[in-house]
């Protein structure tokens, strides 16, 4: 989607993921396209069920066997969907690596973190244990773990949540990936720890020149870390653009609704406008715009076809029929119009 001179680090085109079981088919991702430039941070924002985690995992082919993928995924110029065996193993952890949400379950409880980081290093570089251990120490210092030398021999359950997450980041960085995928890495952390980890990730990304794709459901986190943001709803990207522009003047009603319903910075008594209804069932997606049933500005045309991507500005995209190409109606941005049409939704 992005017209750039440099080849993007990661390019996803029309990705579809379906989970086919005996009973039902879940259409988790329905035609997602985006690109990440080297050194850029893209934040995929969405709620549960929007398909954001599935999209992320598709980039490394970390999906279960009964998942059917379609479309094209290219990372570092390589076609990920066609990879097999050794090439795929080299990709995972080598070119691309991932930081997960729950460090307690993502780390093996029976090995020390030094051993786990060392294992990844040895797997990819083939060096000996001593070198691997030295590298692990270096990485723990890179992620600012206090008393790193002692922590090398600590088991995951001996560390606090924040330290475990740092250890996992160290593991993800061990082979110098060019693209870092982060699946809600701070959601399970306390606020004071979350901001530490976010600042750390931002610094590491800048210093190491990595591209990063950060999945979250929290607008504040997106504002803190992203260069660009892609908002997902019901398996599609409904809006994307530079984070400051999107948050200041959202083009899609869903983004506007999310902003309006955030309780952040709201004093007591100031009512919050909730988006009515619930996300759709991914087994039976309605024809037409998936957000239409909840949208305050729905029209008959919205129910017919999936809205095509419109470009209100060169680097922005929104899938909404009310958005005109090349002209963002900044006179009445969506966030304001959503609030003026407030309903009393309990």
């Amino acid at each position: 989607m992005d017209v750039g001179i440099t080849t993007p680090l990661a390019a996803v085109e029309d990705l579809t993921v379906r989970f086919v079981t005996r009973d039902t088919t879940v259409h988790a991702v329905n035609g997602v396209s985006f690109a990440v430039q080297p050194g850029e941070v893209l934040c995929i924002l969405g709620e549960s069920g929007s398909g954001k985690s599935v999209t992320l995992r598709a980039l490394m082919r970390l999906l279960p066997r009964h998942a059917q993928l379609g479309g094209a995924v290219r990372v570092g110029g390589q076609d990920v969907l066609a990879m097999r065996g050794r090439a795929l193993r080299a990709l995972r952890g080598g070119l691309v690596s991932m930081v997960f949400q729950e460090p307690m379950t993502a780390l093996d409880p029976v090995y020390t973190i030094g051993q786990q980081i060392g294992e990844t290093v040895r797997q990819h570089t083939g060096c000996d244990r001593g070198t691997a251990r030295a590298k692990a120490l270096e990485l723990l210092e890179l992620v600012r773990v206090p008393s790193a030398a002692q922590r090398l021999d600590a088991y995951p359950h001996e560390l606090s949540g924040g330290l475990r997450q740092r250890a996992m980041i160290a593991m993800a960085l061990s082979c110098g990936p060019r693209l870092l995928l982060a699946d809600e890495p701070t959601t399970a952390l306390d606020a004071t720890v979350q901001i530490q980890v976010l600042i750390l990730l931002r610094r590491l990304q800048r210093d190491l020149g990595m591209g990063m794709i950060f999945v979250t459901h929290d607008l504040g986190v997106a504002a803190e870390i992203a260069d660009r943001i892609a908002v997902m709803y019901a398996g599609r990207v409904v809006e994307s653009g530079p984070v400051a522009d999107v948050l200041r003047a959202p083009a899609h009603p869903y983004t506007a609704g999310l902003l309006a319903s955030t309780v952040h910075e709201r004093s007591r008594g100031e009512p919050v406008t909730a988006i009515p209804g619930s996300p759709p069932d991914m087994r039976r997606l309605p024809a037409g715009c998936a957000f239409a049933p909840r949208c305050a500005h729905c029209q008959s045309a919205c129910m017919i076809g999936d809205p095509p991507p419109r470009h209100p500005a060169p680097d922005r995209m929104a899938r909404c029929l009310r958005v005109a190409d090349d002209a963002l109606k900044s006179s009445l941005p969506w966030s304001m119009s959503y609030e003026t049409e407030r309903r009393d939704h309990s």
Binding site: G277, R294, C295, C298, E341, D344
Partner: protein
């Protein structure tokens, strides 16, 4: 109820508000608007047991073996009607005859009795010894496990460590020891087997109960003022019966095998009552005379316990679903 409405736009061409799209009346001042009403998937509602039934119906392998089990059970239950001959009718000249000799479809045993009839009647004992001990053990062991698991603390420790003492013995040895000490016979055999099965079932029930006890809805039930027995009855049992049932069904075949073993050793059924294990024991020496006939009781034990096992596996696959 699907999410789409049929008339999305009003005559004036104005865009419709969300509620109108969903076909609801506009919000009334103090009525709780039902924004979620149309957000449910339009699929059939199934309770847990209904979904178990659904999965079973679509599992051809399990259905096939369940049919065989049913056949065996029916044959055993209706043995007096189905059996061609009297199983106790001896015959000096007709001993150890092969298949088909003078109308005896499956030959005769060492005392000239019809094998087919003895197998059918023997099935009654086998099934009895397979199912009854497991049933009683489930009730007793299940109760002990649920009480121990729910009470926690010292009661739980006392119960489970007592169970561990019995669990430490190999089941065959324990069954033989108890049955031997009590003297033989069907009743004593069943008691022995019941005692053997109580500890493992108790352990399964206790584990399941302990897991359920830590969940929030139990706390909520306590917070609403319910007494422990009420909580167990309404909340715990429904969640514990599943694992216990699955485990118990896998024990039926074990029980049958153990019972046959006891009879083989002379500690179970007494002659002349037909019983597969006993028949194996008495026909053992004659195996060089009519090998196929002598193998029959063993084949019967094998097929029955095998089928029970597979049905139990299928049940586990159908029931063991994370909701």
């Amino acid at each position: 109820m699907t999410v789409m409405a049929s008339q999305p736009v009003m005559a004036s061409g104005q865009p419709m508000a969300a509620e109108q799209v969903m076909g609801l009346p506009g919000p009334e001042p103090d009525a709780a608007a039902a924004p979620d009403a149309h957000a449910l998937p339009a699929i059939t509602v199934r309770s847990y047991w209904q979904s178990v039934g659904y999965r079973l119906r679509h599992d051809p392998a399990t259905l096939c073996f369940a049919a065989i089990v049913l056949l065996i059970v029916l044959a055993a239950v209706f043995a007096p009607l189905v059996a061609p001959d009297n199983p106790f009718q001896e015959s000096i000249i007709g001993r150890l005859k092969p298949f088909g000799w003078r109308g005896h479809l499956l030959g005769t045993d060492e005392l000239g009795r019809d094998m087919l009839s003895r197998l059918l009647f023997g099935g009654r004992v086998a099934l009895l010894m397979g199912v009854v001990p497991v049933l009683i053990a489930s009730v007793v062991g299940g109760t002990l496990g649920v009480i121990g698991g729910f009470a926690g603390g010292m009661i739980n420790t006392a119960t489970m460590r007592t169970m561990d003492v019995f669990y430490a013995f190999p089941s065959v040895l324990l069954a033989v020891a108890i049955a031997g000490a009590m003297g033989g016979g069907i009743a004593n055999g069943m008691i022995a087997l019941t005692l053997v099965f109580i500890p493992p079932i108790c352990r399964v029930a206790e584990t399941a109960t302990t897991q359920v006890r830590g969940l929030d809805f139990i706390e909520a039930a306590r917070a609403s003022g319910a007494r422990p027995l009420t909580i167990i009855r309404h909340h715990v049992l429904g969640n514990v019966l599943g694992p216990v049932f699955i485990y118990a069904s896998s024990l039926v075949s074990v029980s049958m095998l153990l019972a046959s073993g006891l009879s083989f050793l002379g500690l179970g059924v007494r002659p002349p009552t037909p019983d597969w294990g006993l028949m194996l024991s008495t026909l053992r020496q004659s195996i060089w005379v009519v090998p196929w006939v002598c193998a029959l009781p063993g084949v019967a034990i094998f097929i029955t316990s095998f089928c029970f096992n597979l049905v139990s596996d299928g049940l586990r696959a159908a029931m063991d679903v994370r909701m």
